[in-house]
Symmetry: C2
Subunit: 130 residues, 2 copies
DNA sequence: TTATGTGCAAAACATTTGCAGGAGT
DNA sequence: ACTCCTGCAAATGTTTTGCACATAA
């Protein structure tokens, strides 16, 4: 969370602590609810501002997993995600990284590739039977 | 575009025609602007309703490429996408598909996997020099 | 002390929806 | 005719922003 002139505020500490506690990849609003139990007067704007700043500084990851809301992840080591097509839950997929994919994409497009992320879709164990 | 009881309306034809013309993966609002040149009285709601229906029936693809808006693609054969981190443009990445990724993910998660999509990030030729 | 951060509320934006009238089959 | 579809406008849901006050450094 440490960027050059970012102050260590209570709000920032609590947001990061609460995000680190869970592996559910919560949305901004879910984080708001979690944090509000400890800091009842915090504003939703503060949540958004700080999640954005922490994502920019690399402390957390902002996920584009589809659906209508952005999700956040305190684990920044490379891994992928899967979203259940039925219930919308998002979980980690730890499989071997494929660094050669970036080289292939660079060759195919001429872009300077900085990375990739894979979103799987499917049905979780709770939903697959229904 | 043909689902069981979907009527062939002028609006649907024009939306699909305009989307097929371009490879820029336009947003709903961009499609609205394109279609409005031919059908000035069309409503934005009609655009959204029909893009959603066509995506469900498999005629087009709805892309989750990051950023704040959904994008749409008339090309439904499997391919991936890259988004320029600087200008936000989205283009196709045609590289060899990796079907074994789905099996790996199924093994890692226990989910029933239906597919995956890879989003690359990087800088396009116009932006890489800046 | 002073620049940065916060709470609050309003604004901005993307998307969805209700409804009365219109059009495809 | 009988549904399904459209235009319009209002509603919804998410994220951003302006501003006066608070607070970390």
């Amino acid at each position: 969370m440490t960027s050059s002139n970012m102050r260590l505020t209570t709000q920032r500490q609590v947001i990061l602590e609460e995000l680190t506690k869970v592996s559910s990849h919560p949305t901004a609003n879910e984080i708001y609810d979690m944090v509000r139990k400890r800091l009842p007067r915090i504003g939703l704007g503060t949540i958004y501002r700080n999640l954005e700043l922490m994502a920019e500084s690399g402390t957390i990851r902002k996920l584009e997993t589809g659906g209508n809301q952005k999700r956040f992840d305190a684990i920044t080591t490379p891994h992928h995600h899967i979203r259940c097509a039925a219930c919308g839950c998002v979980r980690d997929v730890h499989i071997i990284q494929s660094p050669h994919l970036d080289a292939l994409a660079a060759e195919a497009t001429g872009y300077r590739i900085t990375g990739h992320s894979i979103q799987f879709s499917g049905y979780c164990q709770d939903c697959v039977g229904k």
